[in-house]
Amino acid sequence: MIIIMNRKVDGMTEPLQKSVVIFYSTSAAIKAESLAKKQSLTVKLIPVPRHLSSDCGICLSFNSNDIQRMEGILNYNKIEYDSTYNL
């Protein structure tokens, strides 16, 4: 499990859980990235972690807190995806 530390303004730290969406094609991943950025989500395209898929493609990582917004974007825009995983 990858935990990214996010430093808050008040000096406290809080773990920021990351999730990924795995797609069937790079084009769908790029489309999702473009749409998510337009909705101001913090996203990043990364290689699909080996333990999640044997495919050689990329997946879209995002803050786990945004899971509902991310799924909303994918469903609203009819972007087919394999599944989402918490990292």
Partner: protein, 383 residues
């Protein structure tokens, strides 16, 4: 030098096109959709952004329903050969380019019924003639949006409405209009739009594509080729989703980087302004040529119903003689002959000698038009 051969390929291109090609080659260089590193991802973004720009230009909602091909010819072949089977009926016009006619003649030998609806001698088509030609087994109507010989625009919106009403797929060959005349997939009732990148979209050669409307069932159009797509690598079966279904092998990403810059140039400048400017130049050209008694002009009167393509002949010299003199004595590049469209020349009565064709772009100037008209005047006076 005056370049009047933009219907064959546009020249010059906006400087941004060359800059984008150089930038991609120098700074990105990755293979799109193949690897997880950032150069590959950046290349994939360029592909996607180009689809987004095309979607904006053609008013279609899903960029992934736009696929890249080598040119309009490949897109047309993909639809015709992937969709039509023995026993199907297909309707087209008598003003089509060989990019349509040759695949149709090939399919005819395999049992596809091809019906060619005649156009008038100025290249115009009556939509009612298309409606009358529809049969129970009509699977497709295919029309060019504008003729590469006369520049005449065909009434695609009306024909599209007829096709939609009768539940028949409608394919438009937009080789002469994409980038120079407004195309709206929704309003124009288009199911499939074949376009080329290297003409009015200002991309380099080897770029083109197909817009696949929401109503098209992709399971009914078999791909021309299958192979590596970067997706579902674990499977030896070809993917069934867009755009991968029709995009096998590494894309022409260098070309598409240039194409993207060309489309952005058009979006920034505005297609209405481009159209107005080209129309003004074409008006000037037509009125200049009309003043020359030896000149015979073809196509619809005026420019309201044509793109910036003007075909003409002279009463005293062959098109090839005129073309040679224009090139060698006046430094004017144009295309003479049949323009890969024998059907169009038969329709307008200029087969087999053909015509002289001047095809303009937004980069031509009024001075160039004046010089060209003067050149034609001088050439026809010599005899």
């Amino acid at each position: 030098m005056i370049y009047f051969d933009n219907a064959a390929t546009s020249y010059p291109k906006p400087k941004e096109v060359l800059e984008a090609i150089i930038d991609f080659t120098n700074n990105i260089g990755g293979s799109p959709g193949r690897s997880g590193h950032r150069l590959s991802i950046e290349a994939a973004r360029i592909l996607y952004q180009c689809r987004e720009n095309l979607a904006e230009l053609f008013n279609t909602s899903d960029p992934l329903r736009i696929i890249f091909t080598l040119n309009a010819t490949e897109s047309i072949n993909l639809v015709l050969k992937g969709l039509l089977h023995a026993g199907n009926h297909v309707i087209t016009s008598s003003m089509e380019h060989n990019a349509v006619m040759r695949p149709l003649r090939e399919l005819e030998k395999c049992g596809v019924q091809v019906q060619i609806v005649p156009c008038s001698c100025d290249g115009y088509l009556d939509p009612l003639d298309i409606e009358k030609a529809i049969k129970k087994n009509t699977a497709l109507i295919i029309l060019n949006h504008a003729s590469n010989v006369t520049g005449t625009l065909l009434p695609i919106r009306s024909v599209g409405a007829i096709a939609r009403k009768r539940n028949i797929l409608f394919l438009v060959d937009g080789a002469q209009t994409a980038g120079t005349y407004p195309i709206d997939i929704e309003k124009d009732n288009i199911d499939l739009l074949a376009f080329t990148g290297h003409k009015s979209l200002f991309g380099p050669t080897g770029t083109g594509g197909l817009v696949i409307g929401e109503k098209v069932d992709i399971n009914k159009i078999a791909p021309l080729k299958t192979g590596g797509t970067g997706s579902r690598s674990e499977s030896e079966n070809h993917p069934d989703f867009l755009p991968d279904l029709y995009e096998s092998g590494t894309s022409n990403i260098v070309g598409i980087a240039g194409l993207k810059a060309g489309i952005r140039y058009i979006l920034k400048r505005g297609i209405t302004e481009i159209r107005q400017q080209e129309r003004a130049l074409t008006d000037k050209l037509i009125s200049g040529l009309k003043e020359i008694p030896e000149v015979i002009l073809y196509g619809k009167e005026g420019t309201g119903n044509r793109v910036a393509v003007v075909s003409f002949n002279t009463r005293n010299q062959s098109p090839s003689d005129i073309g040679l003199k224009l090139d060698e004595e006046y430094d004017i590049m144009c295309r003479v002959g049949l323009h890969c469209s024998p059907a169009s020349h038969r329709t307008i009565g200029t087969f087999p000698a053909g015509t002289v064709r001047f095809s303009l772009s937004v980069f031509n100037t009024e001075q160039e038009i004046e010089k060209a008209v003067m050149a034609v005047k001088n050439i026809t006076k010599i005899l």
